[in-house]
Symmetry: C2
Subunit: 349 residues, 2 copies
């Protein structure tokens, strides 16, 4: 998720305030920073759409353009590393706009003293991920900062892609009656990172779901032209993503706890650690808002794709309670699910 | 300068080797890293051109695409700050490919604890620089790292632009007989940063030359279609840039010490500090390689533009000594001017 895409909370920035870890969480503090600091300064219609990618007319096509820096800690984790994540994350931000990736840039900020072998392993992983996704890294940059002024390695990838003809996806386009779909089990990436960081061991180890979703999206768009919005629930998890859509579309979103696919190991880890899996980051999953008559067709297309095998219909868009996301629990009660507040797990991506 | 654009020095990366500050210098270590680590892994024809920007065919136009991260220290300096520099640097990398900027992305890596007011001032400076350059910041990202794991603020900007029809500039295109032009006094940016960092005071304070050069380039291209190559001599200075051109074009380049414009204050500071101004970074200057018959016309066009008022013809391209840059000193002797080796001034941009 591009951090400029989060939604609202207008509260003036106070003098003397300082940046907190939560400002990078993808939750309410991130949204405040965007709404109160960046948007008023950079104001332009493309940025104000608040999507995960800018879309610009270029020579008769619609060019998607998106950027993300990756500061994940540790650099290597079960299921990936900062390099593969940097490729997948930016390919996915293009894909969520209905674009096929055309090319990526890669910019490295390296801390003095990083073993060259580590940088080499990570660059190799990026190259592999890019090859697998069918996209080239065509330009780059390397900066080095003194020991103690960085943290091993930060990577920025910026991507350009061509938006598929006739497709127009937007977090503002959800309408009452639409179905809410997810492409598979939630929370794997966040728990994999946490396990690595804290040295946790599970009976069934959880691997990051980090993956490039553009071919899944292509299969979905082949199946129906009635997809309204796609988002990848990264920082801030499913809850923050649905809150963004509910806010931008001025609709309510109602989801069913029982319908949300979550691995037993992830659920267990979350219980143990006091985390809510609906706020845990994913890096190879998407949320789709789909017209009701097309929902089953799109769901079938998702399930036929290896990256959507665990897809599920988890709720619907409603007219009531615009801007709010509500969850019906397995006990039959209903509660409001807010955007992430503070920072549950820093440096997840 | 995009760090992937530096030239050569094939020597295998040794096991156990670690990243040094010099790997970010724009000199020989940067070139080694690119040649021996990134290029073999990311190998593709666009990247292998080793220009400051990738050029890709998109919908019937040629799209330029370039990335740079900025880690300059301190964040504010005479003549600019990390924000304006991040806009100018990327606009210039587009301009050196003959492209007018279309849009920029901006990605921030903020250290926990940075005053919001500081981030606000820098974002405002970016917005102003972008407005002045006629380019919009259309997409962005913010990440936060823990206190002690960053250094205030790092910014990545990535730019896209449209290459002017009929124009094809390349550091590989210099031919014997071509004139070597520079757009003005060299070394201002590096000395301004150093002065800020070390608390040096000069009688005539030196301000950074940080500026967006795309309108200067447009004026030059209006004047002649015989411009072969443009480069902005940032990290590694004039010497490293000319070495790249000499290497990529397999030609010799001979320059005249007396002809190179350098401010008295910069020359004095360099003498005092034991620096060679030919290696000091610039952020608002360009080097042009121009066919001999067009040289005076292009020089006149440069001098008619506010950012090229101090333009000068400093040498010529030769057949002899391919790959080498030679300097005729004011004493009449000639010496070889190498690419920057090690790191003269870290974190200049």
């Amino acid at each position: 998720m591009s951090d400029f895409s989060s939604f609202v909370c207008p509260a003036p920035l106070g003098a003397g305030d300082r940046i907190l870890l939560g400002h990078g969480s993808g939750g309410t503090l991130s949204a405040e920073l965007i709404r109160n600091l960046f948007l008023p300064l950079f104001r332009n219609p493309t940025l104000e759409r608040l999507e995960d990618q800018a879309v610009l007319p270029v020579g008769g096509v619609r060019l998607a353009f998106t950027t993300d820096s990756f500061v994940v800690k540790p650099l290597f984790f079960r299921g990936g590393d900062i390099g593969s994540l940097a490729v997948h994350g930016t390919v996915n931000d293009l894909a969520m706009g209905g674009a096929m990736p055309l090319a990526l840039s890669a910019a490295f900020i390296v801390e003095e003293g990083l073993p060259l072998e580590t940088l080499g392993r990570i660059a190799e992983s990026m190259a592999q991920a890019a090859r697998a996704a069918g996209v080239e890294i065509v330009t780059g940059d390397t900066k080095v900062v003194e020991k103690g002024k960085g943290d091993g390695l930060f990577i920025n990838t910026t991507g350009i892609g061509i938006v598929r003809e006739g497709v127009s996806l937007s977090a503002s386009a959800a309408r009452p009656g639409d179905a809410v779909l997810v492409s598979g089990c939630l929370g794997d990436h966040g728990i994999a990172i946490l396990a690595e960081r804290e040295g946790l061991e599970f009976e069934c180890p959880v691997a990051s779901d980090s993956a490039a979703l553009h071919t899944l999206v292509a299969a979905m768009l082949d199946a129906s032209s009635e997809i309204r919005a796609l988002r990848d629930p990264t920082r801030g998890g499913l809850s923050s993503t649905l809150n963004e859509i509910a806010g931008q579309s001025r609709v309510g979103i109602a989801i069913e706890d029982r319908a949300i696919p979550i691995r037993e190991a992830v659920r267990g880890a979350c219980e143990l650690l006091g985390l809510d899996p609906l706020y845990v980051a994913n890096e190879g999953k998407l949320v789709a808002i789909v017209a009701p008559e097309a929902a089953e067709r799109v769901l079938a297309a998702m399930r036929s794709h290896p990256l959507g095998a665990g897809a599920a219909r988890i709720g619907e868009v409603r007219q009531a309670y615009p801007g709010l996301v509500t969850l019906r629990t397995s006990l039959g009660t209903t509660r409001v699910v807010d955007m992430l507040s503070g920072d549950q797990l820093p440096r997840i991506c």
